[in-house]
């Protein structure tokens, strides 16, 4: 079986995988990182979004082989120093989840969105989360949660770091 080396949430793993292994399955079944959810399995719902070399991707539509040599961040890697990431806090504070199934992907997609656009309008948030489906909330509180995180990150880092 082919071998891949990937760095996931700061830890480097070398694994033998079948070529057809999807990144989502690799993360969940080989590395036991079950925070990456598999919802639709057809590239639509976004529950499996992770960061691959910094870009948000749907891990159900990437082969583990394609990630060979890559740096990956999953929802488990978003927390730093045991403190919730401002997005995680935002989803908590603004009631951005009900069942919570979509939340890991939603947060990872929102993190990519905020990295590219630290002060998004509500419209930009909605557009940035087009690839993530939520069947519970109606999205309104998710938009509020992302706005909350944007404001918190902005307050923490100041406007000069956005340039």
């Amino acid at each position: 079986m082919p071998t891949i080396t990937v760095t996931v949430n700061g830890t480097t793993h070398t694994s033998e995988v079948e070529a057809r292994t999807l990144l989502a399955h690799y993360l969940r079944e080989h590395l036991n990182l079950t925070g990456t959810h598999i919802g639709c399995d057809t590239s639509q719902c976004g529950a499996c979004v992770v960061h691959l070399n910094g870009d948000s991707v749907k891990a159900c539509t990437v082969l583990a082989m394609q990630a060979d040599g890559a740096t990956i961040t999953t929802i488990e890697g978003l927390t730093r120093h045991d403190e919730l990431h401002p997005l995680q806090e935002g989803f908590w504070e603004q009631h951005g989840l009900q069942c919570g199934f979509c939340t890991p992907g939603m947060i990872m997609a929102a993190a990519d969105l905020l990295r590219r656009n630290p002060r998004p309008t509500d419209e930009a948030i909605r557009r940035g989360l087009e690839g993530n489906l939520c069947r519970c909330t109606g999205y309104e509180n998710i938009v509020r949660a992302v706005r909350y995180a944007a404001e918190k990150l902005h307050a923490a880092t100041g406007p000069e770091s956005e340039v």
Partner: protein, 289 residues
């Protein structure tokens, strides 16, 4: 859903890709961003025995603007969308790209992959046709440049030979008096075009001296609408001329009906979206003088 087993190769050079294609014949498929091929493989609609990942070949990726705009085959939608030089040289391309799928799809999907896949409802084929781009390919006997017009030959079928690889897309930048636009009736769930129309117009002395219109989403492949183009030539590009030309857009066109839109409805929308695309293109051409 898991694809059928396959062998995976990620060669570092184009020469190796071509050798692998020659070795495995039609059992092999090229993998770029994988956002058309992998979903099809997961649904077992495609089951290639060999995948050749071309995304590790540095020369196939990137955007260069030196006279012509040259986009490497494995350049992602996101890279196209965010490229400042492209926004100036051919703004219609990044604008169309913004309308593709979602952020995660655009982070992986590639221009070359989309063109080689030739999905009948993809956005890029219409834009590439309207911009009169050329598609560069490399095969066992060397390279060749295929005009966009001759590239799409049928549903999911292109002029590429089996052992050829699409390497780059070459687009003439828009200059003075030239404008282009892409408008799309977007399927609200899939994001694919129910109807998408790209239009290019050149104005010389207030008259339309060149025009290209291409439609995607409506039939088995993206196609130019020559009757519309002919009707625009020599006109002032005003609302009346555009309405008269756009009314011919669906004429003689093979249009498919499906669950989402009937043939009749799509034919009507082809005319409507052609009018909108031409109106926007003329407006831009006027501003570009």
């Amino acid at each position: 859903m898991i694809p059928c087993p396959f062998e995976y190769y990620a060669p570092a050079t184009l020469t190796e890709v071509i050798a692998l294609l020659e070795c495995f014949g039609d059992e092999a498929r090229i993998l770029a961003g994988g956002h058309s091929l992998l979903p099809a493989m997961k649904l077992r609609l495609a089951a290639p025995a060999v995948l050749i990942d071309i995304t590790r070949i540095a020369e196939l990726r990137g955007i260069a603007i030196e006279g012509m705009v040259r986009i490497g085959a494995t350049t992602t939608w996101s890279e196209i969308e965010r490229h400042a030089g492209l926004r100036r040289a051919v703004p219609v391309l990044p604008e169309a790209v913004e309308q593709i799928g979602d952020l995660q799809v655009r982070n992986r999907g590639t221009l070359g992959g989309s063109l080689a896949h030739a999905d009948p409802a993809a956005d890029a084929p219409a834009v590439i046709l309207a911009l009169d781009a050329r598609i560069e390919a490399r095969g066992p006997t060397g390279g060749r440049s295929i005009p966009a017009d001759a590239f799409f030959t049928d549903m999911l079928t292109t002029a590429l030979a089996h052992s050829e690889v699409l390497t780059a897309i070459v687009i003439p930048p828009l200059g003075a008096g030239e404008g282009a636009a892409y408008v799309k009736y977007r399927h609200p769930a899939s994001g694919y075009a129910i109807v998408g129309v790209a239009a290019y117009v050149k104005l010389t002395g207030g008259q339309v001296s060149a025009c290209r219109v291409a439609v995607t989403g409506a039939g088995s492949m993206a196609v130019r609408r020559s009757k519309v183009e002919q009707a625009m030539l020599g006109s002032d590009g005003g609302a009346q001329a555009i309405a008269a030309a756009a009314a011919r857009a669906g004429e003689g066109m093979d249009i498919l009906g499906d669950l989402h839109a009937s043939e009749e409805y799509r034919r009507a929308m082809v005319a409507v979206y052609t009018r909108r695309a031409l109106t926007a293109a003329v407006e831009r051409a006027r501003q570009a003088i």
